[in-house]
């Protein structure tokens, strides 16, 4: 290109640069940053934040979301803790609490607005580092139209569930879809059934195995693994080639009769097919244990200990648990909400809400499993799905547990 062209391009570039320099800079110090790890909640958070800023014009608060969990860790690792962070009750975040990255909020007024039992479950070392706001549980979603068509009733035990599956298969209907191509839903499914219908404190068994036991000694566990594997066969396509999106689609399009999913699946199904007639019920009993709905605190907010906007952050949290804000949020989020004065009846999930009110809730094992434990377990589970060798699976599970608990 000729010199004139180069020159004019350079000028345009300089112009663009100068125009864009203000936008290049990062979040101002005075702005409060809410770091949410839930993509599903982008819109509802925006609404709540907008409301808050209208009521509090002197505070500016923005939401940043992330594509995946890695960014929160790298933020912490590089000492750039968000003012308000949405975290989970897992060892990675417990480590961060140990290191003092989060503000100790014990005694703050806004903590009183939430269900005290759940609040107690979310303490760490008896301190309140998080404000819990919603829960998620685990449910068996049933397409009631298909059930009614074939004269089936809601199963309360594993045997009843299998009988239903057999009946459906005989009638040419696919009973289940499982999203086991992706490792995370696979791990979720396994641990939530484990923690819900086998042992409400399943992590203690893992600790026992690490100390020298084996999973094969535990009859309930062995029984569960066998039953879980048998159940995974009731799909039309190989479950290892179905991912979460396929699964949701298949359920919404009535291609399958049932799916297991967390309570968050509810809003997905409702948006995919608003006319779908389905119910989210408690998982059936696999053995002696009463089934609980197993889950975790879905939204737990922390304040960065070194944040420069602690006061503003606290004001936001106070606003967030106020009745109207919490009610609005519950309706947008569609997950069980634990703010005391919120009465939100989630469509299709009455059985689960009732169970939660009754206290039939257990925390997922990975709350107390070491970091990466479930990730490794997921790989073993995929192997189990491939070859059906439950003995080999139990043995590898033993070896893996020892390795994780005795790592330096």
């Amino acid at each position: 290109m000729k010199k004139m062209q180069w020159l004019s391009m350079a000028l345009i570039a300089a112009l663009l640069l100068s125009l864009s320099i203000p936008a290049l800079a990062s979040v101002d110090e005075g702005t409060v940053e809410l770091f949410s790890q839930k993509k599903e909640n982008v819109e509802i958070y925006d609404t709540i934040l907008a409301d808050f800023m209208t009521a509090n014009p002197d505070v500016k608060i923005v939401q940043t979301t992330t594509a995946d969990g890695t960014t929160f860790l790298s933020r912490v690792a590089t000492n750039d803790i968000p003012d308000i962070g949405g975290v989970f009750l897992q060892s990675a975040y417990f480590n961060m609490m140990d290191e003092g990255y989060f503000l100790d909020m014990t005694g703050e007024a806004f903590l009183d607005a939430v269900n005290p039992d759940i609040l107690a479950l979310s303490t760490y070392n008896d301190k309140n580092y998080v404000l819990p706001l919603t829960l998620n549980g685990f449910a068996l979603y049933i397409n009631m139209d298909i059930y009614n068509q074939h004269g089936l009733s809601i199963p309360t035990t594993y045997d009843e569930l299998i009988a239903n599956c057999e009946a459906l298969t005989a009638a040419g209907v696919t009973p289940f879809a499982f999203p086991f191509k992706e490792t995370a839903p696979l791990g979720q499914n396994f641990e939530r059934l484990l923690g819900g219908v086998v042992d409400h404190e399943a992590w203690k068994v893992s600790e026992a195995v690490a100390a020298g036991g084996t999973h094969s000694d535990n009859a309930a566990f062995v029984d569960f693994v066998n039953k879980w594997y048998a159940l995974s066969r009731y799909t039309s396509t190989d479950s290892l080639s179905t991912d979460t999106d396929d699964c949701a689609r298949m359920f919404a399009n009535q291609e399958v009769a049932m799916v297991f999913n967390g309570t968050w699946g509810n809003s997905v199904y409702m948006s995919l097919n608003p006319d779908l007639n389905y119910e989210g019920v408690m998982p059936p009993a696999f053995g002696e244990t009463t089934p609980f709905t197993c889950g975790t605190v879905d939204i737990a907010l922390t304040i960065g200990a070194d944040s420069k906007n602690v006061e503003a952050a606290k004001r936001f949290l106070t606003y967030f648990v106020s009745d109207e804000a919490a009610q609005k949020f519950a309706e947008g989020d569609k997950n069980p909400n634990i703010v005391n004065n919120v009465h939100y009846v989630i469509p299709h999930m009455s059985a689960i809400t009732a169970a939660l009110d009754d206290g039939q809730f257990s925390l997922i094992p990975s709350t107390y499993w070491p970091a990466g434990y479930r990730d490794e377990l997921q790989v073993l589970l995929q192997q189990l799905l491939l070859d059906g060798d439950t003995d080999a699976f139990l043995a590898s599970w033993d070896a893996m547990t020892v390795e994780f608990y005795t790592a330096d």
Partner: protein
């Protein structure tokens, strides 16, 4: 003669078949973007019934889409500008003095070695560094891009310059030209083909990069198109036509640019690579 004609016919057929392989994924993406959810599941390969434009209007109506698009353009443009200025400048002395000077030979290997080191090794330290300097945003992103583009850029440009004889420069020096003049008036135009190649490679990288923006760009105002696309996919994962529409829209600027420039691009790369 007959052999040659047969060869040509054979080549043509093979190329046509291969073209199908190239085209099918694009066809599917484009076609799916124009369908509704229901349509997609009733017929994956079929042409859409009508041109369902709702997917596109939905995406285009989101202001963050335009912001992300602008950011991508800005980052890519400024990054390429930096590359076009800094990389030839750095490679020229190295290329010319590598043969004689140990210092410059060391500099060459020093700057090229970075090609082989995976980003993960320096990821945390470099982000910490950017944070402490207070530039962990688009400015830091650009600095990282320029630093990272150095390795391959120097490698390619010095390779090219190795087969460019230095007669022109010598003549200019005898005539009393300064080094700067020699560089800007003589060498830079000569290096054009390889500079085009480097700009294209880096342009594709800056435009399509996911990892660095995801780590550094925190607010929607700063995000690039790739991040918008990824978040979009996460939010609307179960509605494939929407996801495909988003993919299409994200790829469109690149496609249009490519269609206009393809003669220059392919020509530039071929000319540049000949000497390298």
């Amino acid at each position: 003669m007959r052999n040659q004609r047969r060869m040509r016919a054979f080549s043509f057929v093979v190329l046509l078949v291969g073209l199908g392989l190239i085209a099918v994924p694009f066809y599917l993406t484009i076609v799916s973007a124009f369908k509704t959810n229901a349509e997609l599941y009733s017929g994956f390969f079929r042409l859409p019934q009508g041109l369902y434009l709702e997917n596109f209007s939905f995406i285009v109506s989101k202001p963050t889409f335009w912001v992300s698009l602008f950011n991508s353009v800005k980052v890519t443009f400024v990054g390429l500008l930096g590359c076009a200025v800094l990389l030839p400048m750095a490679s020229y002395p190295i290329a010319r003095r590598m043969g004689g000077s140990r210092v410059y030979r060391f500099l060459y290997f020093f700057m090229v070695a970075g090609i082989f080191v995976p980003f993960v090794v320096r990821m945390m330290p470099v982000i910490k560094l950017l944070n402490s300097l207070g530039i962990a945003d688009q400015r830091g992103l650009l600095l990282l891009y320029l630093g990272g583009a150095t390795c391959e850029g120097v490698f390619l440009i010095t390779g090219y310059l190795a087969s460019v004889p230095n007669d022109l420069e010598e003549a200019a020096y005898i005539d009393g030209a300064s080094t700067l003049q020699v560089f800007t008036r003589i060498m830079y135009p000569v290096m054009q083909p390889i500079i085009v190649t480097v700009l294209i490679k880096n342009g594709l990288w800056f435009w399509n990069d996911f990892l660095l923006p995801s780590l550094l760009l925190k607010t929607p105002e700063q995000r690039t198109l790739v991040l918008f696309q990824y978040n979009f996919k996460g939010e609307y994962a179960t509605q494939y036509p929407l996801v495909f529409a988003c993919l299409l829209v994200a790829v469109l600027p690149m496609m249009v640019f490519y269609l206009f420039m393809q003669k220059h691009i392919i020509g530039g790369m071929m000319a540049g690579a000949v000497k390298g």
